[in-house]
Subunit: 340 residues, 2 copies
């Protein structure tokens, strides 16, 4: 099969890779319908994380082609959406809703690589969720978004306790930040402040439900959020960038007793304990337990209540993945969908 391999930073190629095989009775082989490039794929692309002939991709939708003998919840022929973290969905941690910390957790990104024609998905019963039927073509991008970027933004907004009566500030106007805006709106937030200085992303943020835009960053961004919230800060803040500045901006923008949801930090971020302490806030972070949200997100997409697929602003065939990486790296695209 064809699949993406990142030879080294900046060198993305589409090559022949071996067809995946069922290795464990709990595996399924999925023939992918669509996949995409994640903001986190830019870390190795930019050399911030190592890349040495690394398979890439962790977002995926497709049709089950083969199942191991123990798989019961999905059948050959089912259209499925999967999380970017493998989970059994039965252990104590999964049952508490933190499937990304499952005792069998495994990152799809590091070993499987779904920027490819097919993928072997371990713990298929716990990882994949079947849609009610074969989706209309226009639903595919939104279902694909649920696999990570929507699920992650949703987790961040939920973790920040976005809801009725709340003012939510979203730090970051990438795909995850935009999805957090959408999630905050769906969760009933009263006011949603998107922090962005790119006109096109501001427009997208408004389309997903942002009521206010703040262009300032760092301490100035914090001051602006305080101004907009009677000096108190936002009830709920989503951090969806992952740099030192953005993290501390998010901490500063959260009111005392408020909630910060963060869904990615790079290796250089160090949090001064005393600043976090005196902020007096709740935090929830980590790889999102997307699996927890998938049934609900699939239903909302299926019923056309939400249209997160509009976050994809460039669609390319898998063979042109390298151009997709370039477009995202140069910020010519927010998020790139790869067709198969």
């Amino acid at each position: 099969m064809r699949g993406v391999v990142m030879h080294t930073a900046g060198d993305v190629r589409v090559e022949d890779r071996e067809d995946p095989q069922i290795l464990e009775p709990t595996d399924a082989i999925v023939r992918l319908t669509a996949t995409c490039i994640c903001g986190s794929d830019l870390w190795p692309y930019r050399g911030v994380e190592p890349a040495d002939h690394q398979v890439m991709g962790h977002e995926y939708v497709g049709v089950v082609e083969e199942t191991g003998a123990a798989v019961k919840n999905v059948q050959v022929g089912d259209f499925v959406v999967g999380s970017f973290v493998i989970s059994d969905n039965t252990c104590e941690i999964c049952r508490a809703g933190f499937q990304s910390k499952c005792v069998h957790a495994e990152f799809v990104a590091q070993t499987i690589g779904t920027q490819a024609e097919k993928a072997r998905i371990p713990h298929a019963d716990g990882t994949l969720v079947a849609t009610p039927g074969r989706p209309d073509a226009d639903l595919v991008p939104s279902l694909l978004a649920a696999s990570d970027v929507l699920g992650t933004g949703w987790f961040a907004a939920d973790g920040a306790q976005a809801g009725p009566g709340k003012t939510v500030a979203v730090v970051g106007d990438g795909a995850v930040g935009l999805m957090a805006v959408l999630a905050a709106k769906e969760l009933g937030a009263e006011r949603i402040i998107a922090m962005s200085r790119h006109p096109e992303r501001q427009r997208l943020a408004r389309s997903f439900g942002a009521t206010d835009i703040v262009a300032e960053r760092g301490d100035e961004g914090v001051a602006r959020i305080k101004e907009l919230t009677g000096g108190l800060g936002a009830h709920s803040v989503v951090e969806a960038v992952g740099t030192q500045e953005s993290f501390m901006q998010a901490v500063g923008a959260t009111r005392g007793g408020g909630h910060l949801g963060y869904v990615g930090v790079n290796y250089d971020v160090t949090i001064p304990g005393i600043e976090l302490f005196f902020a007096g806030i709740h935090t929830l972070g980590g790889p999102a337990p997307v699996r927890r949200y998938l049934p609900d997100l699939i239903r909302r997409v299926w019923d056309r209540e939400i249209d997160p697929g509009t976050v994809f602003d460039l669609t390319l065939p898998l063979e042109e993945a390298a151009e997709g990486y370039r477009a995202m790296d140069e910020r010519r695209a927010t998020k790139v969908l790869l067709t198969l």
Copy 2:
């Protein structure tokens, strides 16, 4: 009046200080019945924080001696317990239960200094809580504990979501850690693991409700907590030490999706963002909003449901405060009560 002044690190004296006066109509003057020395007073004592002729003390119970014209909730003659952070208890942050982040928040420690015969308490209506009557003498230590160390331990345990069915690990066997053990028990936790290697503190921890003791620290301590929890970590972890090692021990001891409550970090603590991220946990930290808990804690003490006053293992007259500091510094005492 007489009161404690820390001239410089290690140099604590009891001196004549000016009697406090009503400055604002919302002030009250309290004649103190008892006060105490806090673990946090050891930071300047040890030179970790600056001290230059600093008034000391932030825990207090006593009798209202005078009130400003605007004070309505407490009367002259009332026996009161106050929080170590001034709060109006009416602003939006207070109403959300985070009185330690009140828009009028002020630390008693830095400006008032309750290791003294009297104290001026600003925002008396929002800061002080009257007891149902004059307490029996044996209740005074427990009421004093509510002022900070019990309230803080309670906040940490509550923030860590200690409750029925939960395994709670408490990092730190100082007074706050011990009070967190008591709080976890009162909140209904199933299993309470106290991390301590001091036999006397272990005994105290068991007396407050600890079911297990772990003597190991750092990575070994984390490994032991995992062993005791089926490899998962504790549902709820309280951090009540505030060093780099103890903070990361607490992070490591918390299961994915679990809750960490932390109630003090020193200025040297820096949290690696990536470790906190991949832990996938909830955190809540900050100066405890003791005021939120005071009515409930006073009732529990008054009804003799809890006896947190046993955390004081040395009682001295105010004039001997210097010896109290030495005893705590040398770990000869867990917590020192000063009588007036």
